[in-house]
Structure formats: structure tokens, C-alpha cells
């Protein structure tokens, strides 16, 4: 479609970034995005290099992989070791550290771990290997949960007895609520996640504007979208009337995607969930409803795992809350690098620390740190 290509015209983009650069913000403005793909889009386009000096954009808890707790990985890996199940996962999860290594280590030891692009890929594997139990690592926010719900329904229709999911879906609004309840948090406005909102719509964010008086713009993922979203947020702050606006109108309807929401509601119910770096957040996760519990891998393959403390010295919790910037953490670029991630923010290539490490020249005094010794 021509329109989408037009959004990428280099001429348009360059003028927009110059507009960002020359943006006059009278007092310092701090915005937060809560979406890994936004983190990636912003850094990949090099946008931080054009932000005016008193505009700051923080990365909040927007990477579902980063916030998946150590215990989840430990549980999945124990299932593979004790029951010989095949683990199927999105590529993002492969390098998330458990307490004894990650999924690439497990695969290195000879256990079957398959990367899939869609939960339907996991279902295909289950169909092709009927003798093998296949567990799908169901992580992701509101965007991904409906795809997993639909996949589990397919599995029931096809009476696949060797397919189950290990569920760790998370919900964005409860996390934002916890974030905003922290009196120390210094955020003026939110760049809200476009694709989560495709499903959710704009209504679930209203409390941010009405109760917490923060500006909100649901934003798309082209650099042009992000630039416009930021300009809209600055304008909203200037007007002094916080509300929830939609920049990503081509994808987000105020009411969301009712059909997808129905799938989620039929399969899952909200439950308390542990977020790496945040701890327990009430009603911030999804678990399978009783009627679908036969597809719950945790029930099908019970394992004992030890509770794990947060890694010592890791400030991911603070980074995700926007309280400290990645380089302020003592582990950053020393013990914790993209090759050897300690905390969640370094784990995903779009985690706040990894993106910072990767794309900001000032993040490192010498290249690669550990390469030099």
C-alpha cells in the first residue's frame, strides 16, 4: 500500500527528526514507552540522538520476555530434563537466564528445544511428533495472548493430546498502575503500545490520564509514528489536559478487537503474577481457566523448583521504573552485557539496558568490556 510506504519516505523522516531536534520544551519532559518494539524502533532509528536536551524517553516494563521470572525458565527446563518434553518457544526466550543457564544451554545438552515463529508452529510440531509431548512457552502481553488462546482451541478441536502450554502471559495496565502508585516515579507522559492497544483499545488506559494526570498517546512503530507520538505528547502536556489520544489510528480502534478479547476471556482468567524486577503484581497475569486446564503444562508435568532471589546488584527493577538509567547500574557493561546478560533489561535485544548498550556511544568507555582482557 502506497500510504505505508509514504510513511517511510526519507525526506519526510528527516524533516520530522529535525522538527524533534528543534522542539522547544520549556521545562524537562520525561516520557516513558512501555513496549519493546518501541524501544527497538526508537533506538534503531537513532532517535535519541535528535531529542532536544531536556526531553527524556525511558523504557518501562515493555518486554514480556524480560519480565519473565527466573522460576519460569527453571520450571520449563526441569520439565525438559525430567519428562523429556520438547520445548517450543519464540526466539526471544532463548537467551533469558534461568538459575542454571538458558534454553540455548539446554539445547546444547541435547534436549529438544525448537524456535517457532507462531504458536501454530508449536501445534504443527505436536501434530508431526505425536509420540512426543510438546510444551509451548506462552509468554507475551495482550497482543500475544489471543494467538495462544486460538491455538489452544485448535488443539482441543484437533484432540491433540501431546500439546500443552506453560503460561506466563502478562497484562500491561496493572503494571502501569503499580508503576504510577510509586510516588518517586518521574514520568510526565506515556508512549502507549500500539499493538497491545490493537487488542485492548484505549479505554483501559483512562485511569492514567484521569486518576494520575499523565499524558497518554497510543503510538505506532514507524519512526514517523514515534516522532508524531512524541510531538502529540509534548503538545498535550503544554495544553495541561491529560487524556488518552490515539496516534496509531490505522490499527487501533477505541474499543479494541472484541473478537480477540473474547478468545482471551474464554480461555484465560487474570491471576497474580511475578514480574522479574517488579515482584508480585496483583491480577497482572493470565492463567488457563479450569475448563482448559488439561492444556496446562504445569499441571501435566509437575516439577519441584527452588525459589530464586533477584541477581545481586542488578538494578533492572529501578531501570524499568525509570528511576535509574542503565549506566548507573554497577553491573552494566561490566558483569552484564548482551553476551552475558544478568538482568531482564539486558536479556532481550530490546530490553532497556541492551538497547542502551547497543546503540549509545556514551554507554561504553571501551568496546565490549570483557573482550579487552
Amino acid at each position: 500500500m502506497r500510504t505505508l510506504e509514504k510513511l517511510r519516505e526519507p525526506g519526510l523522516l528527516r524533516t520530522l527528526t529535525r522538527r524533534l531536534r528543534s522542539l522547544k520544551v520549556s521545562s524537562p519532559v520525561t516520557l516513558m514507552e512501555v513496549c519493546g518494539t518501541h524501544t527497538m524502533a526508537i533506538h534503531r532509528a537513532g532517535l535519541p540522538s535528535v531529542f532536544p536536551p531536556n526531553l527524556h524517553v525511558l523504557s518501562g516494563p515493555g518486554c514480556p520476555v524480560c519480565v519473565t521470572p527466573t522460576e519460569y525458565l527453571d520450571r520449563a527446563m526441569a520439565m525438559a530434563r525430567e519428562y523429556g518434553v520438547m520445548l517450543t518457544t519464540f526466539g526471544d526466550m532463548m537467551r533469558v537466564p534461568g538459575s542454571s543457564g538458558n534454553l540455548t544451554f539446554l539445547r546444547g545438552e541435547g534436549y529438544p528445544v525448537e524456535v517457532v515463529y507462531s504458536p501454530l508452529g508449536a501445534l504443527d510440531l505436536a501434530r508431526e511428533h505425536q509420540e512426543q509431548q510438546v510444551v509451548f512457552l506462552a509468554v507475551g502481553f495482550e497482543t500475544t495472548a489471543p494467538t495462544v488462546a486460538a491455538t489452544v482451541k485448535y488443539a482441543r478441536e484437533q484432540q491433540l493430546r501431546n500439546f500443552s502450554i506453560l503460561c506466563a502471559h502478562k497484562l500491561i495496565p496493572p503494571a502501569l498502575e503499580v508503576l504510577l502508585a510509586d510516588p518517586e516515579i518521574n514520568v510526565d507522559g506515556f508512549i502507549l503500545p500500539g499493538h497491545v492497544s490493537v487488542i485492548l483499545g484505549s479505554e483501559p488506559y483512562r485511569f492514567i490520564a484521569e486518576k494520575h494526570h499523565r499524558a497518554c498517546v497510543i503510538t505506532g512503530f514507524e519512526p514517523a509514528d514515534v516522532a508524531q507520538g512524541i510531538l502529540m505528547l509534548v503538545e498535550q502536556l503544554r495544553s495541561g489536559e491529560p487524556r488518552v489520544e490515539i496516534q496509531y489510528r490505522r490499527g487501533v480502534r477505541p474499543e479494541g478487537n472484541a473478537r480477540a478479547l473474547k478468545f482471551v476471556d474464554e480461555l484465560f482468567e487474570p491471576a497474580d503474577a511475578t514480574w522479574r524486577g517488579f515482584g508480585l503484581i496483583p491480577k497482572s497475569g493470565l492463567v488457563l481457566r479450569e475448563a482448559f486446564s488439561e492444556f496446562d503444562a504445569a499441571e501435566r508435568f509437575p516439577v519441584e523448583i527452588e525459589p530464586q532471589p533477584e541477581p545481586a546488584g542488578c538494578l533492572c527493577g529501578e531501570v524499568v521504573r525509570g528511576k535509574v538509567a542503565p549506566p548507573e547500574c554497577g553491573l552494566f557493561a561490566r558483569a552484564c552485557t548482551p553476551d552475558t546478560p544478568v538482568g531482564p533489561c539486558m536479556v532481550s535485544s530490546e530490553g532497556a539496558c541492551a538497547a542502551f548498550y547497543r546503540y549509545s556511544p556514551q554507554s561504553r568507555t571501551s568496546k565490549g568490556g570483557s573482550d579487552d582482557d
Binding site: L7, G11, R19, C35, P146, R249
Partner: protein, 89 residues
């Protein structure tokens, strides 16, 4: 989070799948999560599923708005440049 790619529906595959295309590359997605999709529509694809039908009019409006912004910026830059030159004359 959540990678979502706009792709054009080029063929419906009953009962609930479609062939979609972007940049001369095509793939198959499930239409379980969307309603009333026809060939020629653009859908947002996430993890093998279409999760929404794109509103092309809204896309065009977004582009127009951005274009106006860009034009306004270009004008301002021109003016600023003229102002800078003025004292020299």
C-alpha cells in the same frame, strides 16, 4: 512489545486462513482473531495471526498530518535561514 507487520490479503483459504503479502513476500496467517476480511484488505500480522484489519483511510490521514507537520517545519527552517542571512546583506 509485539512485532506487528501490515500485510495485504491476497487470497482467502477457507475455513479460517489467508495468504498475505508484503514486499513481494507472502505467507499464511490465521484469520481466527479478525472478522469480515476480504482480499485486498491490509491486516496487522502478529505471531502468525491477523490481529486487526487496517483502516487505510486513517493511515492516509496520519500521512497527511505528518506531511503538513513536515511542510510547516521546512517553512520555519527556510524562514530561520532567511533571518540568519538578513544581517549580512
Amino acid at each position: 512489545m509485539c512485532l506487528g507487520i501490515p500485510m495485504e490479503v491476497v487470497a482467502l483459504i477457507p475455513p479460517d486462513r489467508a495468504r498475505v503479502e508484503a514486499g513481494s513476500v507472502s505467507t499464511e496467517v490465521s484469520l481466527q482473531l479478525v472478522e469480515n476480511v476480504s482480499v485486498g484488505d491490509y491486516v496487522i500480522v502478529h505471531a502468525g495471526f491477523a490481529i486487526q484489519v487496517m483502516d487505510l483511510e486513517a493511515a492516509e490521514e496520519t500521512y497527511q498530518l505528518l506531511n503538513e507537520l513536515a511542510e510547516a517545519e521546512a517553512e520555519m527552517e527556510e524562514e530561520a535561514a532567511l533571518n540568519r542571512e538578513a544581517p549580512r546583506q
